[in-house]
């Protein structure tokens, strides 16, 4: 294991050095990339799943991008201002941007996208837009968002996956879901949609009229649809593909593939998402409703083993509900190091009767199944009898949405700010059957509700930090869920593919900076 970690760190170091020393970008060439599963559609305004965003991030664009420290960078907006009271956000747009069909991109498109199209189709953005009173376009290249009250994370919702720009001239007044244009997506991005052979590949070609001079560098990108994880590894080994985005191959193959010649690996490019894994613990009934049992679960788990054995040493132990790449994370919380004796003592103190608990693994492949087995073994060792319940994705969705579980694996994105991706899991106002992206565990604490509410609308970052620190301390004391790891998804690629991952959403942000060194 140590040798493997050393090898991975050497590769990472090599990557860093090669990135630091690289020469001028080279124009031309083709990137061959794995896409899995095949996206249902490339219209990112309608479908927000990972594969859709990964391909469509080249076709569509947002007003902003974010660097790996989550600082906003220009995209379709060249500059922006926020009023002192935190209520008015003004964006100044690029003046020479055209849609792929040649029509000019203007502020009216921004107003249409945010206020009309995405309000109807994008559940995650819709929640953030609840804070917006008015969106207006004083001229063709200026957009003003006026908020009802300050909303701390607002500047963080303008990347392509959250607020993609949709062409008003194509969609206005139509049935968005059934518009024929959905099959031939038109955006402002560096690559245009060219061809989609369902079940085989998607081809994007260079946008020759792209507004950033000289970009993109690549001529075309082929996205290869390969349904089997072992075959995806073979595709890289045989030179058919050059880029394996995070999660393309099983974790046990990572070390072998990463050790190949001219192969680099990075776990950068996930900072905005901050994928945070935990186990839901049903707070409503059974032993998991007792805080001592939940703490015992935390002490019983050997998370370092899981990270090193199952995740190739990538990722971090999650010691708080807020990921360390998300704003306002703190380490000043109760920590739960692996300590089976403490777990046994807590179980004895609560008088645990040995009643078995049901554990739902995440049905996302071999790694998650093995992780569930490792946790079962950890819990068995402290005297908790675990029964693993097998489901497929649809069954897993239903069991969680109906609260039919005792312990269940999951991971969710945090979108850079606790108000966007953390509060939803813990506030009691977000308890509702029928969805599994809310407070599924049934945790109720009025203080936590108040702290999250205040932190979301606090104006200064200092105020927000203070409130979020408090809420992290309360939550780690009460353990509503059992935090596992801040996941590290490795992107594997040929080292001569340069500037592949440059922002906080990595390969989801398009290949406009990427080039292939000869």
């Amino acid at each position: 294991m140590k040798a493997m970690l050393k090898r991975l760190s050497l590769l990472a170091a090599a990557l860093f050095i090669s990135t630091a020393l690289h020469a001028e970008p080279v124009t031309g060439g083709r990137a061959n990339v794995v896409i899995q599963p095949e996206p249902p559609s490339l219209m990112v305004g309608l479908v927000q799943n990972g594969p859709t965003q990964m391909v469509a991030g080249n076709i569509y664009e947002g007003l902003l991008r974010y660097d790996t420290d989550l600082k906003p960078m220009p995209q379709l907006a060249t500059s922006w201002e926020v009023s002192e009271d935190g209520l008015t956000y003004t964006f100044h747009l690029h003046e020479n941007v055209k849609w792929h069909d040649g029509e000019p991109f203007t502020a009216a498109d921004v107003v249409f996208s945010a206020d009309v199209f995405l309000r109807e189709t994008h559940p995650r953005l819709r929640a953030s837009l609840e804070h917006v009173e008015e969106i207006s376009a004083p001229d063709d290249h200026t957009v003003v968002f006026k908020l009802k009250q300050p909303f701390g994370p607002f500047i963080g919702i303008f990347e392509v996956g959250t607020m993609p720009m949709i062409p008003k001239h194509i969609y206005e007044g139509t049935d968005f879901a059934n518009n024929p244009a959905n099959n031939t997506p038109i955006g402002t991005g560096p690559f245009k949609f060219a061809e989609w052979e369902k079940g085989s590949h998607i081809l994007l070609t260079k946008n020759e009229d792209y507004y950033e001079e000289g970009k993109p560098y690549l001529d075309e990108i082929y996205w290869h649809v390969i349904p089997d994880a072992a075959s995806r590894a073979v595709a890289y080994e045989t030179g058919v593909v050059d880029v394996l985005p995070g999660g393309s191959i099983e974790n046990f193959d990572v070390q072998r593939i990463a050790g190949m010649e001219n192969t680099c690996i990075t776990d950068k490019g996930w900072e905005y998402f901050g994928p945070h894994s935990w186990m839901w613990l049903n707070n409503r009934e059974g032993p998991t409703s007792d805080v001592r049992f939940r703490k015992a679960v935390m002490y019983a788990m050997d998370r370092e083993f899981a990270r090193d054995a199952l995740w190739n040493g990538l990722g971090k132990i999650a010691n708080s509900p807020v990921s360390s790449s998300t704003r306002f994370h703190t380490d000043d919380v109760t920590e739960y190091a692996y300590d089976p004796d403490k777990a046994r003592a807590l179980l004895e103190e609560m008088g645990y009767d040995g009643a078995p608990v049901r554990l739902l693994p995440l049905p996302y492949g071999e790694t998650w199944q093995r992780w569930a087995e490792a946790v079962k073994q950890n819990l068995d060792e402290v005297g908790i009898e675990v029964e693993i319940v097998a489901t497929d994705v649809a069954g897993w969705n239903q069991k969680l949405a109906e609260w039919d579980y005792d312990i269940a694996f999951t991971y969710l994105y945090q979108y850079g700010d606790p108000a966007l991706g953390v509060a939803r899991t813990y506030v009691s106002t977000n308890i509702a059957k029928g969805s599994q992206w809310n407070n599924v565990e049934g945790y109720v604490n009025e203080d936590v509700d108040a702290l999250f509410d205040q932190a979301a609308v606090a104006v200064t970052p200092e105020e927000r930090q203070e409130l979020y620190t408090k809420v992290q301390q309360v939550l780690t004391d009460e353990v509503p869920v059992a935090w596992l790891l801040e996941l590290g998804f490795p992107t594997i690629y040929r080292c001569n593919v340069k500037d592949l991952v440059t922002t906080a959403i990595g390969v989801n942000d398009g290949f406009k900076d990427a080039y292939i060194e000869k």
């Binding site: 249902p40 559609s41 649809v225 969705n397 029928g434 809310n438």
Partner: protein, 323 residues
């Protein structure tokens, strides 16, 4: 004959509707629904969004109403709309059908030809070492999990030897046309078709071997031998022809299942066929797509059965007389 065909077609239509109705209820009995799966992929959907999706797909209506709407559509040859892929089901199926037919037909021919040959060879050397080797090899391919054979084939012929492409239907981005394209597709076809063909070969081998041995003990074969015919001629003209009848029956049955595709082979070899489409539709609870694939697959089975029955009546006078 015309009346016979018409009666069979009416029966086939009733069977098809029964199959669709049964599958409709079976699919809906599985936990979860397409709205929840789609919402799950969006990553942050609320209950309201899931309800919106259900309404859009008509999943909020009573089950019997949904069945009525679906069957009404099928009667007008409208297989509906895929929830996830946002395309007409018929378009999705017919786009994938040629790839599946190419793969399964090639595998079928490989299985039939190799299986029959091996069966004849084994029957001619019963109890000898060559019979044992052939029978053991055939059973080995039948007993070994298909995905494992597929992965090993990729590993050996694609990764180690670099002789053949390991997956896909053709070289993506090569933009071959005409003969070059056909050659490219043929190269991609070799590994999946052989893997699948070897799996089914054992069935034909066993059937041919047993049938050849059985026929060789019949009186007319003894007569032929008594007449002093050469063993080769007896084997080819008398035993083989008669032994082929059950093999042809089996082949007819299997041909009907060709459209069902080969889920595992298509998945491992990234072959863009119907088997894979069906597997994905099942995982995503894409009801309309799944029912559409079942419909086309069942229709083909019924069609092949009908053709087989008609051929029997043409070929074998005894069946014509009996009916």
């Amino acid at each position: 004959m015309l009346r016979f065909i018409l009666m069979r077609l009416v029966k086939a239509a009733i069977i098809l509707i029964a199959i669709l109705t049964l599958n409709f209820f079976l699919i809906h009995a599985a936990p979860g629904d397409p709205a929840a799966v789609l919402a799950g992929e969006a990553g942050a959907a609320d209950a309201q969004f899931i309800e919106q999706l259900r309404e859009r797909f008509g999943l909020d209506k009573p089950l019997l109403t949904q069945l009525g709407i679906y069957l009404g559509g099928v009667l007008q040859l409208d297989l509906g709309y895929s929830y996830r892929q946002q395309m007409p089901v018929a378009d999705l199926i017919f786009a994938r059908l040629p790839a599946t037919l190419l793969l399964t037909l090639t595998a079928f021919v490989i299985a039939l030809v190799l299986g029959t040959l091996a069966g004849v060879l084994a029957s001619a050397r019963v109890g000898k070492w060559s019979d044992t080797v052939i029978s053991t090899l055939a059973l080995l391919f039948y007993a070994t999990p298909l995905f494992w054979v597929a992965l090993m084939a990729v590993l050996v012929f694609s990764v180690f030897l670099n002789w053949l492409p390991g997956f896909g239907y053709e070289t993506v981005g090569a933009n071959h046309t005409g003969f070059r394209r056909a050659l490219d597709i043929a190269q991609h076809l070799i590994l999946p078709a052989t893997t699948l063909g070897l799996f089914f070969m054992a069935v034909y081998m066993r059937m041919t071997r047993a049938s050849m041995l059985e026929v060789s003990r019949l009186d007319f074969v003894k007569t032929a031998r008594a007449k002093g015919l050469k063993p080769g001629i007896i084997q080819r003209r008398h035993i083989f022809r008669n032994a082929m009848l059950p093999v042809v029956t089996l082949a007819g049955l299997q041909a009907g299942q060709l459209v069902g595709g080969a889920v595992l082979t298509e998945t491992v070899f990234a072959w863009p066929g119907i088997g894979r489409l069906m597997f994905e539709a099942l995982a995503q609870r894409d009801y309309n797509l799944l029912l559409g694939i079942f419909f086309v697959s069942a229709a083909m089975v019924l069609l092949f059965n009908l053709i087989t029955d008609i051929l029997y009546r043409v070929v074998d006078p005894r069946i014509r007389v009996a009916s």
